[in-house]
C-alpha cells in the first residue's frame, strides 16, 4: 500500500499542473474573508452596544444595605453597565460554589445561576454578583488613597500580579473578569455607567474628596446608589452621616 516515490516532503507532490488556485479566486477569497471579519467585528461591537441598558435619566437611590443596592440596580434596568464603586470594601468575594446543587447520576440538571447568585447576595459579594449576573460588565473601584496604598502594600507582599509598576493602581484579573482598582476615576467610563457610593468609603475618605474626584462626570451616571452600609458592623455612624451628606451633594448637583 505504500507509495515509495521520493520527493521533497514539504512541497506539493507531485508537481502541480499549471493554473492551480488562480489569482482571481485568491483575491476574491481574501477580500471575502477580510470583509467577513470586519463585518463580524462591527457586528459584535454593535451587539454589545445594543445589549446595554439602564435608566434613561440620572437617578439617585439611597439604600441601607447591599441587598437593597442590588435590587435597586435591577429595578433600574441596569444591564451591561460600567460600575464605578467608591468604597473601602470591594464586595467581590465569590459566592460559594457549593451553592450549586450537585446531583449525582443522570440526567444532569441545568441551574439558573443568576437566580442562585442573586439569592445569595450579601455585602461580601454584591459586586461579584453584579459581574456574574451581567449587570456590570466592568468594575472601576475608587478607593480612598490610604486604603489603596495599604491594599497595594499587602498585595506586593503576596506577589499579586496586577499591581501597576508605579504602585498607583491594580488590574485585577479574576479568570477573565477584569476590575480596575485605583484611588481616582482615571479614565472616562463608557455608557451606561452606574455609580455606587458605599459608606465604607467615608471611614477614611470625605465627601469633598469624592466630589472632587467625580467632578463633572457625576451627571454621566445613569444610576447612582448611595449605600449606607447598615449591614457592615465596622462602618461607624460618622461614615454613614458623610454618606448622607454625599447623597445631598449629588442631589443638588443633579438638580442643577
Amino acid at each position: 500500500m505504500a507509495d515509495q516515490r521520493s520527493s521533497d516532503p514539504f512541497t506539493v507532490d507531485p508537481s502541480p499542473a499549471p493554473g492551480g488556485v488562480g489569482w482571481r479566486f485568491a483575491v476574491l477569497f481574501a477580500l471575502g474573508v477580510c470583509l467577513s471579519l470586519l463585518v463580524s467585528l462591527a457586528g459584535a461591537g454593535a451587539l454589545g452596544s445594543s445589549s446595554r441598558s439602564a435608566a434613561s435619566t440620572p437617578t439617585l437611590i439611597v439604600v441601607d444595605n447591599a441587598v437593597q443596592q442590588a435590587r435597586a440596580w435591577r429595578s433600574a434596568g441596569v444591564r451591561g453597565a460600567v460600575l464605578v464603586d467608591a468604597t473601602r470594601d470591594l464586595g467581590y468575594l465569590p459566592a460559594a460554589e457549593d451553592l450549586i446543587p450537585r446531583r449525582t447520576g443522570w440526567p444532569v440538571q441545568s441551574v439558573d445561576l443568576p437566580a442562585l447568585w442573586i439569592g445569595a447576595t450579601d455585602r461580601s459579594n454584591a459586586v461579584w454578583v453584579a459581574a456574574r449576573t451581567g449587570l456590570a460588565r466592568t468594575v472601576h473601584y475608587v478607593l480612598p488613597a490610604a486604603v489603596l496604598k495599604e491594599r497595594i502594600r499587602v498585595g506586593r507582599a503576596q506577589n499579586y500580579p496586577g499591581i501597576a509598576a508605579d504602585g498607583g493602581s491594580v488590574f485585577a484579573n479574576d479568570e477573565g473578569y477584569v476590575r480596575y482598582i485605583d484611588d481616582e476615576l482615571a479614565t472616562p467610563v463608557s455608557q451606561p455607567a452606574v455609580l455606587n457610593i458605599d459608606a465604607s468609603y467615608f471611614v477614611q475618605g470625605t465627601p469633598a474628596e469624592l466630589s472632587a474626584q467625580l467632578g463633572d462626570s457625576l451627571r454621566s451616571f445613569k444610576v447612582i446608589t448611595v449605600d449606607r452600609a447598615e449591614d457592615a458592623t465596622d462602618v461607624p455612624e460618622a461614615a454613614r452621616a458623610r454618606a448622607d451628606e454625599m447623597a445631598r451633594i449629588i442631589e443638588q448637583a443633579l438638580a442643577r
Binding site: P16, L37, I100, T104, W106, L113
Partner: protein
C-alpha cells in the same frame, strides 16, 4: 499516491473507527457524570443564556459551551446530551488520524496503524467520554492538519480552493476549543507558505494567508457572540482575551497525588503517568476513571521517533509527521505551568502517526512478525486496561497497582462516600 484512498484502506479504516466507537460508547449510560461533566453542562447553559463562561474553566475558549448546549437541546441532560460531541468527535478523530497519516507518510498501512492506536488508547477513550473539550481540540486540530497535508500532496493545487478554507474553519474551531491548537496551525501555515513560495505561486501564498489567518480568527470571534450580548465592545474583548490568556497560563493546582503528574516531558517516558476522575452514581457508588497510556504504546513513542529521525529513508518519509508531532508536543514540554495528562489528548494522535508509520515500515522488513506480534499484544493489553477508561477502575483487582498510583485524592474521595 492518489488523493482518493483505496477501497481496502477505506473498509479497514471504517472497521477501526467502528471499534473506536464501540469502545467510546460502551457502558456510557452506566458511567456516572463526573463533577466536570455536571459543571460543564451548567456552564454551557450559563454561557448561552447569560454570556457567562463560568463556573467551569472561564479562562479557556468557549466553543465547548456552544456544542454542549446544542447537544443538550437535542438529548437533554443525558450522557448523549452532555457528552455527545466528545463521543462523536472522539470517534471521528480515529478516522481522521488515519487519513492524515496515510497522506503524510504516503502509506495506507501507516494510516491504519495510527488509527488503530488512537482507537485503542485509554486516554483517548477516557476523554472522549467526558464533556470537557480536550477531544474537541484534538479533533479540529487533526482535521486542519489532514486538510493541509492533503493540499501539500495534491496533484493539482486547484483543490486548495476548498481544502484551505475548510482547514481554516477547522483550525478556528480548534483554537476556539483550546488555545494549543494554535501550534499546529502555525506549522500548517509555514508548510503551505514554504511550498508556495518555493514554486513562486504567490496566488497560493495569498490564499494560504486568507484561509488560515483571518478565517480562523473570524470563527473564533463568532463563538463569543453570547459574551458580547453582555454589553461588551471589541476593545473590551481584547482586554478579556489578554486576561483569560494570563489566567490560563498561570492556572495551577496543588501537586498532590496524581496532580503531581504534571510534566508533559514525562508522558512518553514514565509508565502510567496519569490523571484521575471520580464520579458517584445515584446509588452512592464511587466510579473511578484513570487516564493512563498503555505503556507498550506510549513508551514506544520515543524509540519510534528516534528511529524516524535517525534512519534517512524513514526521516524523509515521516518528515511531516515528525514536524506535526514536535509542534504539538514541544510547547507543552517547554511550558512553565503544570501540564496534566488531559492535554496529551491533542498530542497523542500525532505521536501515533510517527509510531504507526515506523511500525508500517518495519512490517516490510524482516521484523514484520515482531511487529504483528506487537500489534496483538497492544490490542490485548488495551482491552485489559479498558476498565480504567470507563469508570470501572475499582472493580478489577489487577488494576489496583495503577489505581494506587493516583494516591490520596482517590482515597479521600472514597472516604467521603
Amino acid at each position: 499516491m492518489k488523493m482518493m484512498p483505496t477501497r481496502k484502506f477505506l473498509y479497514m479504516l471504517v472497521a477501526i473507527v467502528a471499534v473506536g466507537a464501540i469502545l467510546r460508547l460502551g457502558w456510557i449510560g452506566s458511567q456516572a457524570p463526573t463533577g466536570d461533566d455536571v459543571m460543564v453542562a451548567v456552564t454551557a447553559t450559563n454561557y448561552v443564556a447569560n454570556g457567562q463562561p463560568n463556573p467551569t474553566e472561564p479562562f479557556h475558549p468557549v466553543l465547548r459551551n456552544l456544542l454542549v448546549y446544542a447537544s443538550m437541546m437535542v438529548f437533554g441532560g443525558s450522557p448523549l446530551g452532555v457528552k455527545g460531541f466528545s463521543l462523536l468527535l472522539g470517534t471521528l478523530l480515529v478516522g481522521v488520524t488515519g487519513l492524515f497519516v496515510r497522506r503524510a507518510a504516503r502509506d495506507e498501512r501507516a494510516g491504519l496503524f495510527a488509527a488503530g492506536l488512537v482507537a485503542l488508547d485509554i486516554v483517548q477513550i477516557d476523554y472522549s467520554r467526558q464533556a470537557i473539550q480536550e477531544v474537541h481540540t484534538a479533533f479540529f486540530a487533526m482535521v486542519g492538519a489532514w486538510l493541509v497535508v492533503e493540499a501539500l500532496r495534491a496533484e493539482d493545487t486547484r483543490s486548495w480552493r476548498w481544502l484551505l478554507p475548510l482547514a481554516g474553519v477547522s483550525y478556528g474551531l480548534g483554537v476556539a476549543s483550546k488555545f494549543y491548537a494554535l501550534s499546529t496551525l502555525v506549522l500548517s501555515i509555514g508548510l503551505l507558505l514554504a511550498s508556495s513560495w518555493k514554486r513562486r505561486k504567490y496566488d497560493e501564498v495569498l490564499l494560504t494567508g486568507a484561509a488560515l489567518v483571518p478565517l480562523p480568527f473570524t470563527v473564533y470571534l463568532l463563538t463569543y457572540v453570547p459574551w458580547f450580548r453582555r454589553g461588551y465592545g471589541i476593545a473590551e474583548w481584547v482586554t478579556f482575551q489578554r486576561a483569560t490568556m494570563s489566567a490560563m497560563t498561570t492556572h495551577t493546582k496543588a501537586p498532590v497525588a496524581y496532580l503531581a503528574y504534571n510534566k508533559a516531558a514525562m508522558w512518553f517516558l514514565q509508565p502510567f503517568y496519569g490523571y484521575a476522575d471520580v464520579a458517584t452514581t445515584a446509588a452512592g457508588q464511587m466510579q473511578l476513571s484513570v487516564a493512563v497510556g498503555n505503556p507498550l504504546v506510549w513508551l514506544a513513542v520515543v524509540p519510534a521517533t528516534l528511529y524516524a529521525v535517525i534512519v534517512p529513508g524513514q526521516r524523509r518519509r515521516d518528515a511531516i509527521l515528525l514536524a506535526y508531532f514536535a509542534t504539538a508536543y514541544l510547547p507543552l514540554v517547554l511550558s512553565s505551568r503544570p501540564i496534566w495528562m488531559l492535554s496529551s489528548v491533542a498530542v497523542f494522535p500525532f505521536a501515533a502517526g510517527v509510531l504507526g508509520s515506523v511500525a508500517a515500515a518495519l512490517t516490510r522488513r524482516a521484523s514484520r512478525r515482531v511487529v504483528w506480534a506487537y500489534v496483538a499484544v497492544v490490542i490485548a493489553t488495551s482491552l485489559l486496561l479498558y476498565p480504567l477508561a470507563i469508570g470501572r477502575a475499582l472493580r478489577f483487582p489487577y488494576l489496583q497497582p495503577i489505581v494506587a498510583r493516583m494516591g490520596d485524592y482517590v482515597n479521600a474521595q472514597g472516604a467521603a462516600q
